[in-house]
């Protein structure tokens, strides 16, 4: 078997596992299990990105998707006392129809797309050649992704950092000012005295 065959085989296995994990997430009623499966999903996605030679994206997916967001989801689970939540599973026709139609339309639209990694795809012939040719001259860093993100699209990245900043401030404002409610009804009477400890 050639390298390409092996790559195709690994791709099929990874995508198959992604499918299995997705169905697991949909079917599972235990939120702890769902969070764990979501972490596994992110790790699998990181491997898919690695196969697509997008190492930087894979890195981010593994660190953020599998790492930090799993911890934060577990923290949320511990806060909301998920054991009492019981959602009955029942088949719903309309959402299923919407999902199937959307999927079918996407698959249909995919036929017009260029093959993965095709050199003559529109996104490869727009600004990418300029970046590839000019980065060694203008910026001279070996990692092209860094050159594009930090310099050519520095303004975009500034916006992204602002989004993260805003998210942090938002969480700070929301969680440090809200009273403790919901988890246990009988505790309300204590809240006035205890809240000030924050």
């Amino acid at each position: 078997m050639s390298v390409g065959d092996w790559e195709a085989l690994i791709n099929v296995v990874l995508l198959g596992l992604l499918l299995v994990v997705t169905f697991g997430i949909i079917r599972l009623r235990n939120l702890f299990g769902v969070v764990m499966l979501a972490g596994i999903y992110s790790l699998l996605m990181a491997m898919v990105f690695t196969l697509l030679d997008a190492v930087d994206v894979a890195f981010t997916e593994a660190a953020v998707g599998a790492g930090v967001s799993t911890i934060l989801s577990l923290g949320t689970l511990a806060l909301i006392d998920s054991r009492r939540e019981k959602i009955p599973f029942r088949f719903q026709f309309t959402p299923m129809l919407v999902a199937l139609v959307t999927g079918a339309v996407l698959l249909w639209g995919m036929q017009d797309m260029p093959a993965v990694g095709a050199a003559d795809a529109p996104n490869q012939i727009h600004v990418a050649p300029y970046y590839i040719e000019q980065t060694p001259v203008e910026i001279d860093v070996p990692n092209l992704v860094t050159a594009v993100l930090a310099s050519y699209r520095g303004f975009d990245t500034l916006g992204e950092v602002t989004v993260i900043f805003t998210a942090g401030i938002g969480v700070m404002l929301l969680l440090s000012s809200m009273p403790v409610v919901g988890a246990h009804r009988r505790r309300r009477r204590d809240d006035d005295g205890q809240e000030n400890d924050t």
Binding site: F155, F165, G168
Partner: protein, 162 residues
């Protein structure tokens, strides 16, 4: 706080390497995969691991919430500050060529290094902030729960998931 010996020792062994790897990813982003965003998350993961093993209070005494909220703003200010600096040096906003009057390529290197550092600082601080807020919230809930164990009826807690 986790009392078991194995996680405590393992965390003690791992945390320095996690932080070091975070710094490596931060400052090696020009040469290999990585950059400020990934480095910030890895660095924050090290601190979060410390908090998970040794308790929120000890983590808060090492990396104080005041410092963290200062860093949240500092990273973004470093990034935007580079933009203002290039403006003052007579170039466009975030045009790093202006940072080195002799060699524009060196200016680019410097600019990328500084703004990546800003990204890393803000991302790490925001991740730690979110974790502190969630964990602090959990701590308040737990403390309230402990106060009420006397009259708490168990059947409410043992409702099993489907």
């Amino acid at each position: 706080m986790i009392e078991h010996l194995v996680p405590r020792i393992l965390a003690k062994l791992l945390i320095p390497f996690i932080l070091l790897f975070g710094l490596y990813v931060q400052f090696h982003g020009d040469f290999g995969p990585g950059g400020g965003f990934q480095a910030g998350v890895i660095f924050a993961a090290g601190i979060i691991l410390y908090a998970l093993i040794y308790g929120l209070d000890r983590a808060r005494s090492v990396v104080t919430p005041g410092l963290v909220s200062f860093l949240v703003a500092l990273g973004l200010l470093i990034y935007a500050g580079v933009g203002v600096a290039t403006l003052l040096l007579g170039a466009e906003f975030l045009n790093y060529n202006a940072l080195d009057s002799h060699d524009p390529v060196h200016g680019q290197h410097l600019g990328i290094l500084i703004i990546e550092f800003g990204v890393g600082v803000t991302v790490a601080a925001v991740m730690i902030t979110i974790f502190y807020q969630f964990a602090g919230r959990l701590k308040i809930t737990r403390e309230l729960e402990c106060d009420e164990t006397d009259d708490a009826d168990e059947e409410e807690m043992t409702g099993s998931p489907r």
